[in-house]
Amino acid sequence: MISIATYETYPQLTREGFTIVDFYSTTCVPCKMLSRILEDLTLDYPFLNIVKVNTTDEPKLGVEHQIEAVPTVIFMKDGQELEKVVGLMDEEELEEKISLHYYG
């Protein structure tokens, strides 16, 4: 499932279980590519919790998570950051991270 987070809803959306957080901006081309890949992934893995944060609309979340470039993906478990990856990831790389963090 993909959710769009605001500053208010973010804690609730990322509090439990494994979450992939995608920090993006609407004008960034790699962000659009990553967004398509994530949408495809949810069709293959509907149990994934994907949360998207538009850094233009929610700059405070960007600052709090020290987002210096987009796209940035944070893999989280029960609200705790496991890994932060800056830049575009392809489908295989994302699957590797899921294998590592969701099942690890």
Partner: protein, 319 residues
């Protein structure tokens, strides 16, 4: 009544971007048949019917309880797409054939894992026939051929994001529009452009000076360089942006959707949230009203041009 934010510069005559011929850029796309098949299956998945399988097969989703001395395989409940290999390739192969409620002991490498299948689900896809696809009731996809075109379109859209040809086509359209339209630039806004150009040159020079001295040769090639950059380089870029912003402004004026003071205040509020230590004055210097309007209106035209270029590529390749 809303107080609109407008540029004082004006466009006198607009060259319609849809007149620009970009056929010279329509090259480079090759369809990926394997990906096409995958995307068609994914599309069908949206209409799949969930069923409970008697025995696990590759492609099913299993919820397992695993017991093992290795933490990775010691879980009360874990969801596994069977055969994808994300959990464990070797183990997933051995799951095939298990029934719900059944417990089996497997080895993956030297590790022993006791697995109980708690539940299983399977998505039964609609058949890949015109009749089955037509029955889904999706207006734009009534046949296998239309589904293929839709998925091919997706590939072309991916190509549009990745390849430099569409960007070159957009830049070409942008330049052609700028060259063939007529503008009336406001002197005060031209002065703001000059200030902006000087500031940008200083930023680039500062970045260049701060570059690490012990970089590798490859990194050095990618480092920003001030060679050949002058204030005029940036002035031209920003003046073109101002010109094209006046077209974007005109497009929005016709739709009655010009920026308002409230939009600017909302932008400053967002910036304030991100930089609470900064004063309002500092934020308005960081993002001036002129810059805000110029960027916004230029982006309106840029989006129109990008959409036009996308349509041309899709019409050419996704047939």
């Amino acid at each position: 009544m809303a107080e609109y934010i407008t540029l004082k510069s004006r466009v006198q005559s607009i060259y319609d971007y849809r007149q620009v011929d970009i056929s010279q850029f329509l090259t480079g796309f090759e369809p990926d048949d394997r990906q096409l098949e995958k995307d068609m299956t994914r599309w069908l998945r949206r209409f799949g019917k969930p069923v409970q399988p008697e025995h696990l097969e590759v492609g099913d989703t299993a919820v397992l309880r695993c017991q093992s001395s290795l933490p990775r395989f010691a879980k009360e409940s874990v969801t596994v797409p069977v055969g994808k290999g994300l959990f464990d390739k070797e183990l997933e192969k051995q799951l095939v054939g298990m029934a719900v409620g059944e417990t089996r002991t497997f080895f993956t490498g030297d590790t022993q894992v006791e697995v109980t299948l708690l539940s299983a689900s399977r998505v039964q896809l609609p058949a890949l026939t015109d009749k089955a696809i037509g029955a889904l009731g999706v207006e734009e996809v009534q046949s296998v051929a239309q589904l293929r075109t839709l998925c091919l379109k997706k590939q072309v859209e991916g190509f549009l994001l990745e390849d430099e040809n569409p960007d070159m086509a957009s830049a070409y359209v942008w330049q052609t529009v700028a060259k063939n339209s007529r503008f009336d630039r406001d002197p005060e806004e031209c002065r703001l452009v000059d200030i902006q150009a000087e500031k940008r040159l200083q930023e680039v020079e500062a970045r260049y000076e701060q570059a690490e001295p012990e970089e590798t040769e490859e990194q050095e090639e990618d480092s920003p360089s001030v060679v050949g950059f002058t204030v005029d380089t940036f002035r031209q870029v920003f003046l073109t942006e101002l010109d094209l912003a006046t077209i974007g402004q005109e497009m929005l004026r016709q739709e009655n959707a010009l920026l308002t003071q409230e939009d600017y205040e909302a932008r400053l509020d967002k910036l304030q949230e991100a930089y609470p230590h900064k004063t309002r004055q500092e934020l308005t210097e960081q993002e001036s009203l002129f810059r805000f309007a110029c960027d916004y209106y230029a982006d309106v035209l840029a989006q129109g041009i990008d959409a036009y270029v996308s349509r041309c590529f899709i019409a050419h390749f996704a047939r």
